[in-house]
Structure formats: C-alpha cells, structure tokens
C-alpha cells in the first residue's frame, strides 16, 4: 500500500482529517501485526492506539521517499514486541478462558474458539506472516520488508504455518 505523501505532510501540521484517512487505510494491517504478537484482542486494541500515537510523535523521523505503510507496520511490530516483553505474564491468554473468547460481536463462540486454538498452534513469526498474508493480502515480498527477513524465509514460514493450520482444522475430531 502506498500512502500519498501529502497526507504525511498534513499530519505534521496536525490535520485531523489526514490522520483519519491514514488510520482508516492502515488500521487492519496494524491490528493484524499487533494481534499476531499479543494473541489477545483487548490488549491488541490498546497497543494499536499506542502505535498510532508513537507514529505521530515520531513523524519527523519518517524519511521521505520510503514506504510509509511499511514504516508504520515496523513501528507496530517493534512496539508490540516491546510491550510483550514488558508485560509477558499478561499476554499469555488461556484459550479456554471463555470471557476472552466471547469478545467478538460478529462471529459465534465456536468459530472464535477454533480461531484462538489455531492461533495458539502457531509461533510468533508464523502468526504475523499468516495474518498479514491472509487478512491484509500482502505479498510475501512486502511482508519480508516489514519483518526485515529474507523472502525465502517468509515463504517458508507461510507454507509451514498453513500446513499446520490445515492439519489443525481437524483437531475437533481428534479431541472430541
């Protein structure tokens, strides 16, 4: 995704509308990255807000002619990891904790439960790669740039994760 440079200039001049535009166009990707690390929706919401504040406070450090979207996602990635390290014990959510699972209004508890189970089977890198690829529909090359990892490694991680998930989809039959 490419954010027009004029919006970034406007943000520097405290333009609310420009911020709104950037937020609306990037929130899904930022949330995806943060959730992949936090594994918890309510924590992800909090961190997501902090990411945008961090972006605003550091906007003067953003280098022109570089990809703003990638820069923002890198901030999200680093900030979420920072928060994870600081609050490690709060991040590990028990997937059997029904109160955590029942936070969604649009999908049923069974799907939420299955989703959280699948998420729990993936490691941090796998979660980020799969969520960015599937939800945000980013190309492997773009994910590689955001995570600062080789393209081959990203493709490898994605395939490994998808194979795990495909197999994991049958866990209900095994466990029940």
């Amino acid at each position: 995704m490419i954010i027009d440079h004029t919006y970034i200039e406007k943000i520097k001049n405290k333009d609310e509308a420009a911020f709104e535009y950037i937020y609306m166009n990037t929130k899904r990707a930022v949330y995806s990255v943060v959730f992949a690390i936090a594994k918890n929706h309510s924590t992800a919401e909090d961190i997501m807000q902090e990411v945008y504040m961090k972006m605003l406070s550091s906007i003067h450090q953003y280098k022109e002619n570089t990809n703003f979207f990638n820069w923002l996602l890198q901030i999200a990635h680093h900030h979420a990891i920072d928060q994870y390290r600081k609050n490690k014990h709060h991040f590990n959510v028990d997937v059997n904790d029904f109160s955590e699972i029942m936070v969604s209004r649009e999908i049923g508890p069974d799907e939420e439960y299955l989703f959280m189970h699948m998420i729990d089977r993936l490691d941090e890198d796998e979660r980020i790669v799969v969520i960015l690829k599937v939800v945000e529909e980013l190309k492997h090359r773009e994910i590689a740039k955001i995570l600062e990892k080789p393209l081959g490694t990203i493709i490898w991680i994605y395939q490994k994760a998808m194979n795990k998930l495909k197999a994991e989809g049958g866990y209900d039959d095994e466990e029940e």
Partner: protein, 381 residues
C-alpha cells in the same frame, strides 16, 4: 482437515470483527508540547559545568580517534568491517537462486565421468526424444530452485572457517521432501555504496554434496541497469555462470555452462511468483534449436511432481505439449531417477527415464547443519 479457503475466511472474519471502528482521539497539544520542551532544553538552558566537562572529554576522545584513524590510513591498514550482501533483503534471493542453480549444474561435472559436452552428445545420439533431452541437464536445477514452492531459505551464520569472514547456508527442498543444503564461505572483497546504489564483490568456496567449488559473486551497476553475476567453478576452465539482469519490467537469469573455455549451453530462467506458487519459465537456445518450458510444482494423489508446458523447435521440427515429472525410487539401491511422462499435442504419449543427480550423496551432516541454522535463527529472534 480444513481447506485453505476456510482457514482464510475464519481468519479474516475474526480479525475484522475485532478491529476498532472508532478513530482514536489525538491529543495534538501533548505531542506538540513534547517537541517544544525538547527544543526549550536545547535553546534556553545554559550549559552547566558538567556539560562543559563532558564536551571537553568528548572532543578529546574524538580527536584521539581521528588521529588513530589517520595513522591507520597512512599505514595502509584496512579497517575491518564485514559487509555481507546476503544480509541485504534486496539481493539475498537473487544471490541464493544464482548460487543454487550454478552449484546444482556444476555438480553434474563431478557426478559424471564423461565431460558435460560428451554427456550431452551421448544422450542426443542414444535417444530421439530431443524435447526431453534438451532440458534433462537442467531438471536438478529446476527441482531445487522450485523447492516445492517454498523457494530457498537463507541463514547467515558466524563463520567457523578462519579463512572466510561470512558463512551462509542455503536450504531448499527436493521433490521427495528432503532438505538440501548448500554451504557458502566467503569474503567480501569490495563493497561500494554510492548515491544509494550498492556494488559489491564476494569470493569464496561452496560446499555441496561433499564437493567443494570456488565462486565469485558480484553486483555491478551498468548503463542499462543492475547486474548480479555468480560464477561457480571447479577450479579448472569449467564453470557455470548466472547473470541476473533487470530489463524493463522483466528480470531473468541467463545461465551459461562453459567447458574448457567454450560455451556448451546457454539458457534463461525467469521465476514468477504468485500467491506462494512458483512458476519457472525456462528458455533454451542453441543455434537453430530453441525450447521454451514452463515448470510448475504440483501435488497429484499425494505425489509431488513437476508439470511442464513446452514448445520446441529442434532440428527444424516444431513440437508442443505437456510433461509430468515424478521421481522413481529403486527399492533395492535407493537410487532415484526422473520418470518423465510426455504428452505431445500431435503425437501419442510416451515415457522416458532420466538420471537424477540431486541429493543422492547427501551427507549425514545435514541434520547438524539444520540444527545450527535453527539455533542461529532462534538466537536472532
């Protein structure tokens, strides 16, 4: 088992249903005042005595470093900085594909007792299936570069060879699901950054299938764009060279096999990647002979295979059709070969068996390499 689409749907629905819809309130004044405070500290406050002391120490230290640096320069002592192009995401994949393809082709020399040229002519005389024999020497390369759609994984490790400053292990996967490792040890002999454009040269050795090859890799900027060349040699006048060039919107690898100073084969490969699927366009040209092959990795009834669409013009005969390549394992010896099913558009289907020169001599050390890679990746994470 869940289908890929079902998984995707589940992920999208779940994530999207949790994304906050309201835009966060931005406290612009706090952000602005933070910046003003920083400026205030710099402009208004007077330097204290301790700041003055710090400045004095800093200046002295800076001058000392500068003097030592100058002495170093006059003594022609190079400053030891390790620049490893494999750590640069922009070139890593190209270098890895070049390295794996040249090494796999180069290993044909050590695997056959006859020369490459002799091997090619021998095959041509023995068979009439020119469409197949043309690509036969390249099947191992295509198999390893495709890597079951996973491509090539690159691990930068600390060099354990005192002769070389960098160590890289490239890992791919063959059609049987076995991991294949290529170990590179090298020194960066030149690294120049000019106006955001980087040129470099690396030199070292390549370990593959218990054989060692020399290699040179370099990136140059020319009038018509960037060129990355990678040359793997057995130390004699035989070498395989890959040249990666971006021409307009297209980027291709030109691969040249040279024996005793003579070019015995020239080909081009282009890797297309879409949604995790790799398709390799292979073009072969030899005087009046020409072949274009599109390779795709597929799974059929649980078997990993390569599917090919081809169009050739060999000995003035035009042919097109499809092929399917599977790996056949000899139960007694464990040796593997390519089982090629050819379906020409205008003729009957036929089968062809070809020697396979991938991974048969894989050393027992592969697990060790993998562990080392994992350990290194873990420590990075």
């Amino acid at each position: 088992m869940m289908k890929k689409n079902e998984i995707k749907k589940l992920f999208i629905t779940n994530i999207e249903s949790h994304i906050p819809t309201s835009i966060p309130k931005v406290d612009w004044s706090i952000l602005a005042s933070n910046q003003v405070n920083i400026l205030d500290t710099v402009i208004i406050s007077k330097p204290s005595r301790s700041v003055f002391k710090f400045k004095l120490i800093f200046t002295t230290a800076f001058i000392t470093v500068l003097v030592l640096f100058s002495i170093g320069l006059f003594n022609n002592q190079p400053i030891a900085t390790v620049q490893n192009p494999y750590t640069n995401v922009a070139y890593q994949n190209t270098l890895s594909v070049s390295a794996v393809s040249t090494a796999t082709l180069m290993s044909n020399y050590t695997a056959t007792t006859v020369s490459y040229n002799q091997a090619l002519s021998l095959i041509s005389k023995l068979t009439t299936t020119d469409t197949v024999t043309t690509i036969e020497p390249y099947l191992g390369m295509i198999e390893t570069v495709t890597g079951q759609n996973l491509g090539i994984s690159t691990s930068n490790l600390t060099s354990d060879n005192p002769m070389y400053e960098s160590k890289v292990i490239l890992t791919t996967i063959d059609l049987l699901g076995n991991q294949i490792h290529y170990t590179l040890y090298f020194n960066t002999t030149s690294y120049v950054k000019d106006n955001e454009q980087i040129q470099f040269e690396i030199e070292g050795v390549f370990l593959y299938k218990n054989f060692q090859y020399d290699f040179i890799g370099k990136k140059e900027i020319e009038d018509d764009g960037e060129i990355i060349t990678f040359k793997t040699t057995n130390g004699l006048s035989n070498y395989v060279e890959s040249t990666y060039k971006i021409e307009g919107n297209e980027s291709k690898y030109n691969i040249k096999i040279v024996e005793n100073g003579l070019i015995v084969s020239e080909s081009k490969i282009k890797i297309n990647e879409e949604d995790g699927n790799r398709e390799i366009d292979f073009e072969y040209s030899d005087g009046s002979n020409y072949g274009s092959y599109q390779f795709k990795y597929e799974q059929e009834d649980g078997i990993d295979l390569l599917r090919i669409k081809y169009q050739t013009m060999i000995n003035y005969v035009e042919e097109s059709g499809q092929m399917k390549i599977e790996i056949k394992i000899d139960q007694l010896t464990g040796m593997t070969s390519y089982q090629i099913f050819v379906q020409p558009d205008d003729e009957d289907e036929y089968e062809y068996e070809s020697k396979r020169n991938v991974n048969d001599n894989e050393d027992d050390d592969s697990d060790h390499n993998r562990d080392e890679e994992d350990k290194d990746n873990d420590s990075k994470d």
